[in-house]
Amino acid sequence: MTDTTTETGAAVRPSPTAPKRSFLSQLEIDTRLLGMIGAFILVCLVFNVLTDGRFLTPRNIFNLTIQTVSVAIMATGMVFVIVTRHIDLSVGAMLATCSAAMAMTQTDILPRMMGLGLGHPLTPWIAIAVGLVVGISIGAFQGWLIGFLTIPAFIVTLGGLLVWRNVAWYMTDGQTIGPLDETFRKFGGINGTLGETWSWVVGVIAVIAALWALWSARRNKVNHGFPIKPVWAEVLVGLIIAGGILGFVAILNAYEVPTARLLREFKARGDVMPEGYSASYGIPYSVLLLIAIAIGMTVMARRTRLGRYIFATGGNPDAAELSGINTRLLTVKVFALMGGLIALSAVVASARLTNHSNDIGTLDELRVIAAAVIGGTALAGGIGTIHGAILGALIMQSLQSGMAMVGVDAPLQNIVVGAVLVLAVWIDIVYRRRLGGK
């Protein structure tokens, strides 16, 4: 196996006259992604120094991840919306409508009409299904207005921002609806985690899957006789990925459930806590959901026809149409997908608050768009990545909570976040210009 690979590699390696490839290009890692990871690490380190080491504790990293999930889920959908040269300003308002619909389903409609109360095993799943139907329907409707009636997305979703925010208000009379179903609340973060053992199981499975994906991609290239990375580069990338995954699991597992809470749980079950007992939170379900969505959306973007058409339409709508792609229906699909992701995001957001409040999701549209754009999605269309958007959401959230921990005044926090958004886009423009002029 090793012999054949090196042989094929040697056969297609650039001729001696070709410039020697740099270390990074041999690794075939996106330098832009590397820059973002660098920026993220810098933000973390600076805040860690400013907070005397309180920023990079397992507890804070755990909190950071669960705070990021809701915006990150929507940001993955926003990538597709922006890639097709549209925008969605209504995501925060739609989140409120989905959340209101799910809260009312659990606390009012199901108990009254079907006699299923909170705590019934079916309740959370019916509620989530209702939320998905609401989100996908609203998204598809807005997509139809944009694609088929050709009303600009900016206007449709600006109207949607007002409409859906107040539909949510109307549905709930502006009241806070809660508490929500206990199983439902497990999607919020700290109330639902895998625990230590299962977190390691998931981590190990993820490492195996990632390595298998790397290996099969390489095998595929070898089969077609395409240029491949040197083996050392492949191994290094594999090690970095495996280390990243297992490190992340280790950090989440290092965050232990406070003893007081454990005592309470044992008491509630009528047991006595054994001496020296401890338990870790591990990976939250909400983070698992985000990871599943990220993988699904990445596969969709890169390996399905739908994804290919989304990017082609963003790059050149006329060309896409002339290639037989139904760009109008595509717009409906993209916005319906956005709606579905908003509904899942609403599950996480309301579960985290343990209730539906009237102002849930306020200003989320701006956070989501900012996350996608910081993550390298070009507003001109055609360019953007799912992992970039999630990293963008993580950077935004780190800035926000870091500043809060340092004790920066609230107005200053927002001023900094706004300035960072503009700065990030400017850096991106400069970077792309350099790349284009190469």
């Binding site: 595929n220 596969v299 399905t304 026809r305 050149n316 060309a319 896409a320 037989g324 360019i383 284009g436």
Partner: protein, 247 residues
């Protein structure tokens, strides 16, 4: 012999302007028919109707002796009509294989896009069309005009077209690349394809085409065999808008 394509009395108006006015044309296998005329004469509009990009108001399209219904580019592709547009119609952000197979991606057994297979096919056809083409996996925005043109041509040729429409295929090209396109047209013609060619270069048209049709203000002025006319005859048809015998 049955014509490959018969366009019968095609008309199309854009808000009161008759862009194509009662035009009839035909095309036989192994034949190159040139369309000439000023900008706005209706050439591109006419071929876009055949390519499915526009819908005609009146008229009929017959393909190989049967009436055809073409409502979309997808329909046109089903009749093995391939088009190279003047604008090339490439998605700049995608690489050459993605553009070549756009709308007709090869998929693996899970229904996922098979990039490796598409790349292999692209390398194969590019080796034939433009052996200098190396930037397979870069976005086509990074390619030169000639390379972009080869991608557009490869897309039309790859899928076993019977009817090829070429709208200004050499407009953006240098002398050497234009020669390559001319050779390709001759090769495809020898394979029995029917080709509609649009160009402003009258001399090139007389060299490549079997017949030329001249349009002005949406109407067909006349169709002539290239052996029967001189460059001056064609120019006077384009400029005066009169058929040769009337002039």
């Amino acid at each position: 012999m049955t014509p490959l394509v018969e366009l019968k009395n095609i008309s199309l108006s854009f808000g009161g302007v008759r862009a194509v006015d009662n035009v009839s044309l035909d095309l036989y296998p192994g034949e190159v028919v040139g369309l000439l005329g000023h900008n706005g004469a209706g050439k591109s509009t006419l071929i876009k109707i055949l390519a499915g990009a526009y819908q005609m108001d009146e008229g009929e399209i017959w393909i190989e002796g049967k009436k055809a219904t073409i409502h979309s580019p997808r329909d046109a592709r089903r009749y093995n009509i391939e088009t190279i547009y003047q604008t090339l119609a490439l998605a700049d952000n995608l690489d050459a294989p993605s553009n070549l197979f756009l709308g007709r991606e090869l998929t693996n057994r899970f229904g996922l896009v098979d990039d490796a297979q598409m790349e292999a096919e692209t390398r194969k056809i590019m080796a034939r069309l433009n052996p200098n083409f190396k930037k397979i996996s870069e976005p086509v925005s990074a390619l030169s005009g000639g390379q972009r043109q080869s991608v557009a041509i490869a897309r039309a040729v790859y899928f076993n077209a019977k009817i090829l429409i070429m709208d200004e295929p050499t407009a953006a090209l240098g002398v050497h690349e234009s020669k390559m396109v001319a050779d390709l047209i001759k090769e495809l013609k020898a394979q029995g394809l029917g080709i509609f060619l649009i160009s402003h270069d009258t001399r090139e048209m007389l060299e490549l085409c079997d017949r030329v049709s001249v349009m002005k203000n949406g109407a067909l002025i006349g169709t002539e065999k290239v052996g029967d006319v001189t460059e001056d005859d064609i120019l006077s048809m384009i400029i005066m808008g009169k058929a040769r015998d009337a002039a």
